[in-house]
């Protein structure tokens, strides 16, 4: 048997979460969770997530807050900003509930990826944590943003993040959430 560590088995938990340790969960400065507005309409967020073994994304889930409005788009990017899969602009639906999107399956190899998310309406709410008031917390966690996007672009242009509200997004590799 080889001594080389094997990365071909799926050794990731079935749900990877932007606010868990594979995402930004271990960074200091994360505040309480609450239903909060999407800070800026059409401002996409790109949140880093580390995949430690081969992982097939089948669904992406967001946690809607107390008010739904406009369209939401969620997807996964590679570390070069190339969109790997997304749901496309879809009406936000279901208050204080999960909204799960059945995206085109994509298999990720170990590495860093970005979970992209955007809402077209600044009154739409999601359950988020909040980073430090000057938004340096988001930058320290490696989060980027891109303004002027009504849906996730095929190629992300990473820019300094000035947003404070960090949403909980879950990637799923099984058939249910």
């Amino acid at each position: 048997m080889t001594d080389f560590p094997s990365f071909d088995m799926q050794s990731c938990r079935p749900c990877l979460n932007t606010l868990a340790s594979e995402g930004i969960g271990d960074y200091a400065g994360l505040g309480s969770y609450s239903s909060r507005v999407w800070s800026t309409a059409n401002c996409a967020l790109y949140m880093p997530i580390v995949v430690r073994s081969i992982y097939t994304v089948t669904q992406i889930t967001v946690y809607n807050g107390t008010v739904v409005a406009g369209n939401v788009d969620v997807g996964v990017y590679d570390d070069q900003g190339n969109l790997l899969t997304s749901i496309g602009a879809t009406a936000q639906s279901g208050t204080s509930a999960l909204q799960t999107f059945d995206v085109a399956d994509v298999t990720l190899r170990p590495g860093r990826y970005y979970v992209g998310m955007v809402s077209t309406d600044g009154t739409a709410t999601f359950f988020t944590t909040i980073v430090e008031a000057n938004a340096s917390g988001a930058r320290q966690a490696g989060v980027f943003q891109q303004t002027g996007q009504s849906s996730l672009p095929s190629t992300a242009t990473f820019a300094v993040c000035t947003q404070q509200n960090m949403p909980q997004v879950s990637l799923t590799s099984r058939s249910f959430v």
Partner: protein, 180 residues
């Protein structure tokens, strides 16, 4: 000195509140343990918590933290992500209030990978030290799931389902030693 990376030692205990499992999410929530524990919500409804080990992990002890009341039987187990039963404690009479109860299972060495840590109790009078996630969606997005059993002990291949109506997170787990 070898250039091969050395395996990082694992913590000796794994339970839902550790980073190996879903603890990284729930530590941000305002969860607290009550003195007397929380009753098990539904008899023979198993809760499964995903966890990962990055080095071989020898399971030498199953344990759970009883609350102020004990009743019925308990079983704990480790399943593969495909619901294949890897090892379980076996049907065990819940015994000892406000203390950790331990069971020595058949020796099992877990290969690095992802698994489910599962628990089930036969009585809704049984109490465990536990917290509840703020809402079921928190548990769902952490990958927690449930399975309805016909009874204990755990058997191979339970049907896994969404934990959409439950927020229960008991304190139980595995240990790579005999002292918990």
């Amino acid at each position: 000195m070898s250039d091969w990376p050395s395996p990082i030692a694992a913590r000796g205990l794994i339970h839902p509140y550790t980073p190996e499992s879903v603890g990284g999410l729930f530590t941000h929530l305002a969860t607290t343990f009550t003195t007397n524990g929380i009753v098990y919500p539904t008899a023979n409804l198993a809760f499964l918590f995903p966890f990962e080990v990055t080095v071989p992990f020898p399971i030498k002890t199953f344990w759970w933290f009883n609350g102020s009341a004990v009743a019925g039987n308990v079983d704990a187990a480790v399943f593969g992500l495909d619901a294949s039963l890897i090892v379980n404690a076996g049907t065990t009479v819940q015994s000892g209030t406000n203390t950790i109860q331990t069971v020595t299972p058949t020796a099992m060495l877990l290969d690095p990978g992802a698994y489910y840590l599962a628990i089930a109790a036969s009585s809704t009078s049984a109490k465990f030290q536990a917290t509840t996630s703020n809402t079921a969606p928190w548990s769902q997005m952490a990958g927690v799931c449930q399975a309805t059993l016909s009874g204990l002990p755990f058997t191979n291949g339970p049907t896994l389902a969404s934990v959409s109506a439950n927020t229960y997170i008991p304190l139980f787990g595995i240990c790579d030693g005999t002292l918990v």
